[in-house]
Symmetry: C2
Subunit: 404 residues, 2 copies
């Protein structure tokens, strides 16, 4: 019999090789998994052991937030801070933790341009604040949050409280001792960012961003496998949500979804290489689209509002509101003509209540109106935008009675 | 421009169509998702709205157990029952819930043949018992648990306590009122079964089994997508573990992994069609394998023990112990000769402590010895078994000093 004969009698572990099996096929699968982990770590400027593979962005966000709260060993109820335009997987997790009395929460309101003021975050930090969670870029209006500045405010807070502790620790209270060098700052408050929408276009280096936790999702990256990632700085205490096997440092039990993980790491690396070029291309298209909208009498007559800051913004996002026309209606009219747009987060699409993000930046608006989001991508061309603007103009003319 | 032109400007929802989007591509994706749900429901004899897609078996088990405990509204701490040979995603979840003081737990010991006695389960049921979780078939030793009999014991308990309540509710305590018809029995205790290992070979009809919750995993089914399923009877109160969007009735938020879900439903249907034939084929192979083992002097001299009941057993599982030879060593020796077997659950493979399942049925044994599992599948032939037995015989002869 040939030496290379392979007989697989480990179907109960997995129909294909399981990276946790100790036989040679398992070991090979594990090597592939570790290489994928290294690739992702390299893109993030992190260490391989800081990468946890999950099932997606929602799980990554839940694991980051619930995980920090559940791991907290302090006497007081932990306190966590976020903003009012986060993805439902963050906002609803905050509300659940409050409801179950597992955490105190603060929800900071963003400004009218859809950007949060880092000083307002800092103002909410208390002694028992364990986590600040602010998204890198918003899924509906594409605004990019000042994560680095928020990280600086948190670090400043940590230094201040370290100084304070150093002072009180002096045996002679009249002699202020010099502040200790800032090597042993508390790890709290931690900073988490939901980078799901940012992955294709923004810098993901966790050191530069200054974050302790960062979430990614394969479903928003071209050709990526359907898995998620949670970056967790080594020093961050985290509890698992699921219990089970030892996979992913025990923080995410369950047989690893190897084929999808390999696709993910490969796609993330590819995106990183073409990012600069693609951002330039999309920025040009975005400006082209915006100018067409701004210069059109039809859009202006319908009272068009451009939602969210136009500078600190993803290059692929345009979000507009016509104050008297429900965006849902526009999505359906556009769809009938072959243009696929969106009126709110797909994750909240079964609610009839409209967009809480648009409501957050236009508190005076009718919640049912919402915003009309166009999110461009790899395949989008100038001709697509010409066609889209033409079709939307026709729809607006048809709906003239709604806004005249 | 052609009418059929499709312009996708919804990249932020998902790089491919998101079933929760309201445009036409979203609606089409949703239809596919609903069809997959129907297919899975048909195999289980359930309703489509009772099927929840998850990321895998570990998540399904966690959602079933944590979900029932978290949804419990009673005044007393909920009580849950399981056995000592469950998969880590069940056992560790039980231990975590106890540690976090969210539930009281009872762990019933299985008999020496690896089968649990339904009467022993019933004995543990208390007024505050909300859930009994017993696996359909064991992942290490392949023993099939008497789920239907456990369901009967639970139903009997429910009837008894309904009668009791009816009796005490009588205004005249001397006159026992007739028991109410058993239409309004309490839903508690619920019965959950982890059917991950059973899917390929056993009847999955939830009505026949008498279960309220049932877990499946794509990773153990040939050609199935890497997703999981939790069947949840409509009347079962369940809380989500993740918070976020409205997908999967809000019980499992996160963009649906449509391509994998479609693969899963298709594979489950295929398995159902070929099940009878495949069970017969594997049973013949299993007997062939067993007879070869039993008749060999080499195996008998090494003190071979066949683990787990040989009748109530998956047709693809053989698990043996040589009391003086660590099974890990045998797996590695076999692997070097091209035979992939297993020594314990891959989910616990990073622990050096051996198999808790083998320890449970042979309490007197050395925990490090464990069991050597061969799990057959689609591609397994008689020639594979001949080769495996030959190789294993050689290894045993080489290791003679270990057991002589």
């Amino acid at each position: 019999m040939a030496k290379s004969r392979k007989i697989y009698l480990d179907y109960a572990a997995s129909v294909s090789a399981n990276p946790s099996s100790i036989h040679i096929l398992g070991v090979k699968a594990k090597t592939k998994l570790q290489n994928a982990r290294k690739e992702v770590a390299t893109v993030l400027g992190a260490r391989p052991e800081e990468i946890i593979f999950t099932s997606g962005g929602t799980e990554s966000n839940n694991l980051a937030i619930q995980g920090v709260v559940l791991a907290w060993k302090g006497k007081n109820l932990p306190h966590i801070i976020t903003t009012n335009i986060e993805h439902p997987s963050v906002l609803e997790t905050f509300k659940m933790l409050k409801k179950r009395k597992l955490a105190d929460i603060s929800i900071v309101l963003v400004e009218k341009d859809g950007i949060v003021d880092p000083k307002k975050i800092k103002k909410e930090i208390k002694k028992n604040t364990v986590l600040v969670s602010v998204m890198y870029a918003n899924n509906e209006i594409g605004t990019v949050q000042p994560i680095h500045e928020i990280a600086k405010e948190i670090r400043y807070y940590k230094k201040q409280s370290a100084k304070l502790k150093g002072f009180f620790r002096s045996s002679d209270s009249r002699v202020p001792i010099p502040a200790r060098p800032f090597k042993n700052l508390s790890v709290f408050p931690l900073l988490h960012t939901d980078a799901v929408q940012a992955a294709n276009y923004l810098n993901l280096n966790v050191e530069k961003l200054g974050v302790d936790l960062l979430s990614l999702s394969g479903s928003k990256i071209e050709k990526a496998g359907r898995v998620g990632v949670l970056y967790k700085k080594k020093s961050v205490p985290l509890a698992a949500i699921f219990c089970g096997g030892d996979q992913e440092l025990g923080l995410r039990p369950g047989t690893e979804n190897l084929s999808e993980i390999l696709k993910f790491s490969h796609a993330l690396k590819s995106v990183e290489i073409t990012k600069g070029k693609e951002v330039k291309r999309l920025t040009r298209l975005q400006n082209y689209f915006l100018n067409k909208l701004k210069r059109s009498d039809i859009f202006n007559n319908a009272g068009m509002i451009l939602n969210g800051d136009l500078k600190n913004r993803l290059p692929n996002n345009i979000n507009i509101t016509f104050p008297k026309i429900p965006s849902d209606l526009l999505v359906i009219e556009l769809s009938a003509k072959g243009v696929m747009a969106s009126s709110k987060s797909a994750c909240k699409s079964s609610h009839s209540e409209g967009s809480y993000v648009i409501k957050a930046i236009h508190p005076e608006s009718n919640i049912e109106i919402g915003g009309l989001r166009f999110s461009l991508g790899k395949e989008t061309t100038k001709a697509d935008i010409d066609y889209t603007v033409k079709i939307l103009s026709k729809i607006l003319l048809k709906l003239k009675k709604w806004y005249n």
